[in-house]
């Protein structure tokens, strides 16, 4: 008998009496001001949130903030000629030297500051992790209250996606928080009014 058959047979023999799934899996904690809560959640994890009216203003702000940076990449068409690092590579290892990636993402979650990004918006899955510094651009009106709402919005049918909440971090040495473990050393989130 294969391991599969053995395991399934043993489970059928030993499983408890059938129960039903809970009907309600949606709970409160809806925030009156979702944007304020989103900003609060992100500032607690060392992430700056910047509101800009449109993509033109985003461009101006980005030029102001990251003037001297080289090896910058972006998936935002309005920043295409600003970026100096092409994402048109076949081997993701070639992204190793990216200093800053400004990426279009989908939506944010107020309760924890998480932002959803997926294959839909990414030429390479490793991009938000391998870049030294990261910025997300999401529509200002895309913030949901909590994770229950997030999964209602999430109709993603792509092969991979991730909730990212803040820069990479660790506290594995004596519980001292250190920002920049293996992933991005910093995160900035741009909320765009009219994307």
């Amino acid at each position: 008998m294969s391991a599969r058959e053995k395991i399934l047979q043993q489970i059928r023999l030993n499983k408890p009496e059938e129960t039903e799934l809970p009907k309600n899996i949606d709970f409160d904690s809806h925030y009156e001001d979702r944007e304020a809560k989103f900003i609060e959640s992100l500032s607690a994890i060392y992430t700056e949130v910047i509101v800009v009216p449109d993509l033109g203003a985003l461009r101006t702000k980005v030029e102001e903030l990251y003037g001297g940076v080289v090896n910058k990449a972006s998936t935002i068409p309005a920043l295409a000629d600003w970026a100096d690092f092409s994402l048109q590579v076949t081997d993701p290892h070639d992204l190793e030297t990216i200093e800053l990636a400004i990426l279009e993402a989908e939506f944010g979650v107020a309760e924890n500051g998480a932002i959803w990004i997926s294959d839909n918006h990414l030429p390479h899955r490793v991009l938000p992790f391998i870049t030294q510094n990261l910025a997300f651009v999401i529509p200002r009106n895309s913030i949901v209250s909590n994770m229950h709402e997030a999964y209602k919005v999430l109709k993603d049918t792509t092969g991979w996606g991730c909730f990212i909440s803040g820069p990479s971090k660790t506290a594995d040495i004596e519980q001292s928080l250190v920002i920049g473990a293996h992933g991005a050393r910093s995160l900035v989130v741009f909320l765009v009014d009219h994307a």
């Binding site: 993701p92 924890n112 500051g113 229950h148 594995d172 040495i173 519980q175 992933g183």
Partner: protein, 457 residues
């Protein structure tokens, strides 16, 4: 790896030799527990979430076979290879076989308690495969040649001075350097090179979703994603109880997991894998290793609801003062003590006794496992089946004789009080385990029973 395994009490003795160190360990974990409290109290629906998570997991236990079949079908449709392993040995052989097929002898691995349970690194090393653990805490204990002492905080038993010495030796950091920022940066550089040069990556699984055939891996460091997205082959290993029915259920579990573990509202990365990227191979190994037996033990099956947050360890007064290694099991603490006897009753008979039965573990458990009740029930099973040392068994039987006969009990109490008063040295000596680290109390003048009879009139 220690060669001689001490039982929990003996290992705790060693751990307790340095009192300031034990106090520090105790306070560090209590601090994490406190962060969990603060975080959970910000959600008015916390208790409802716990109950819902527990109920979903109960549904999972009662539908495990069909959920696993659905998951397998969906995962295959997504282009993922699904493997089944009955035992740890089968699991390890599957991993080895996949690596051999691709001529790979070096692999990066993110946190997976399952591979600890299977002693996979040792097995692969014996077969010429180098495994680099990429979670910072796990890399630290790997360089020290010891297992993690905590499932979420693998190096929580170490001081920064220990890590400074270790990194000076292995990573060439400055001698005497202990700054966590500096040490973490050194590890980042060291491990970045590994991510960029290894063709295989192994990850654990926090949740697998039957409905989509996908699985979620949570980290704060980003090491699971760095490994998986750069490697030609991604192997994800899970105990089959990690399955949940629907994607929307992740909303419940992701709200509970990080808050219970470290007090964060969510981990930095909650990565949802479904299909391999173009040109990549993705494999999932579903492991039993005694889980289907535990499923049949009515009193203990709820232990399979565990989502590995570690809250029960952080709150446990025994864990905090004895350290994870004293439990000689991949999963330590209260939850480890109810999982381990299922794997080997003889080797792990001491663990259900490593508890005060205070119940704090059950109170913080995000899926409401009745941990302390199960600890109590395991004790009975273990004594009945003859797995406890003779001394303990005789003691328990003597207690039973005394406590079941009121007259004998009264007489014993009187005798005890008289002896303690007249000859305190009989109990105040190192032969009496209760005398360790404490004075024996002054014997009372009379028993409560005598006092009650006298005062009732």
């Amino acid at each position: 790896m220690s060669k001689v395994t001490l039982d929990h009490a003996s290992a705790s003795d060693v751990f307790n030799a340095d009192e300031p160190y034990v106090n520090w360990h105790d306070e560090t974990l209590w601090f994490v527990r406190h962060k969990r409290d603060k975080s959970s109290k910000q959600l008015p629906e916390w208790e409802a979430l716990r109950q819902t998570a527990s109920d979903i997991k109960h549904y999972v236990l009662s539908h495990l076979d069909t959920l696993l079949e659905t998951f397998e079908r969906k995962a295959k449709e997504n282009g993922v290879h699904v493997h089944w392993a009955s035992t740890a040995a089968e699991h390890n052989e599957i991993v080895l076989g996949l690596l051999r097929k691709h001529n790979i002898d070096r692999m990066v691995k993110s946190k997976s308690m399952l591979t600890e349970e299977c002693h996979m690194n040792d097995f692969l090393a014996k077969n010429g495969i180098e495994v680099i653990d990429t979670d910072l805490g796990e890399r630290i204990v790997q360089l020290r040649n010891e297992p993690p002492s905590h499932i979420v905080l693998p190096a929580i038993h170490l001081k920064k001075q220990d890590i400074g010495v270790l990194f000076h030796e292995h990573l060439g950091t400055e001698e005497g350097a202990t700054d966590p920022q500096y040490l973490t940066e050194a590890a980042r550089q060291h491990l970045r090179d590994k991510f960029l040069t290894r063709r295989a990556a192994l990850t654990g699984v926090n949740f697998a979703v039957a409905e989509t055939g996908g699985f979620v891996v949570s980290t704060n460091e980003g090491n699971a994603d760095m490994g998986a997205h750069l490697a030609d082959i991604h192997i994800a290993c899970m105990g089959f109880e990690k399955i949940i029915p629907k994607q929307e259920h992740l909303g419940v579990f992701l709200r509970l997991l990080a808050r219970s573990a470290t007090g964060q509202p969510i981990t930095t990365y909650s990565s949802h894998f479904k299909k391999p990227r173009e040109g990549q191979e993705m494999h999932i190994i579903l492991l039993d290793n005694g889980r289907s037996t535990q499923l049949g033990r009515e009193d203990f099956r709820n232990s399979l609801k565990c989502i590995r947050c570690g809250a029960c360890m952080n709150t446990c007064p025994v864990y905090r003062r004895s350290g994870g290694h004293s439990y000689h099991n991949a999963v330590a603490g209260p939850i480890g003590s109810i999982l381990a006897p299922n794997l080997d009753m003889t080797k792990n008979a001491d663990l259900p006794f490593a508890s005060t039965l205070c119940g704090s573990c059950s109170n913080v458990c995000p899926v409401k496992i009745d941990i302390h009740d199960q600890l109590y029930k395991w004790r009975q099973v273990l004594v009945k089946q003859g797995h406890v040392p003779k001394g303990k068994e005789i003691g328990i039987k003597a207690m039973s004789v005394v406590l079941s006969q009121p007259r004998f009990y009264q007489w014993s109490g009187k005798l005890g009080r008289a002896v303690m008063k007249a000859m305190p040295f009989v109990v105040n000596n190192s032969l009496n385990p209760w005398y360790k680290n404490r004075e024996m109390p002054e014997p009372p003048q009379e028993s409560f029973r005598d006092w009650y009879i006298r005062n009732r009139k």
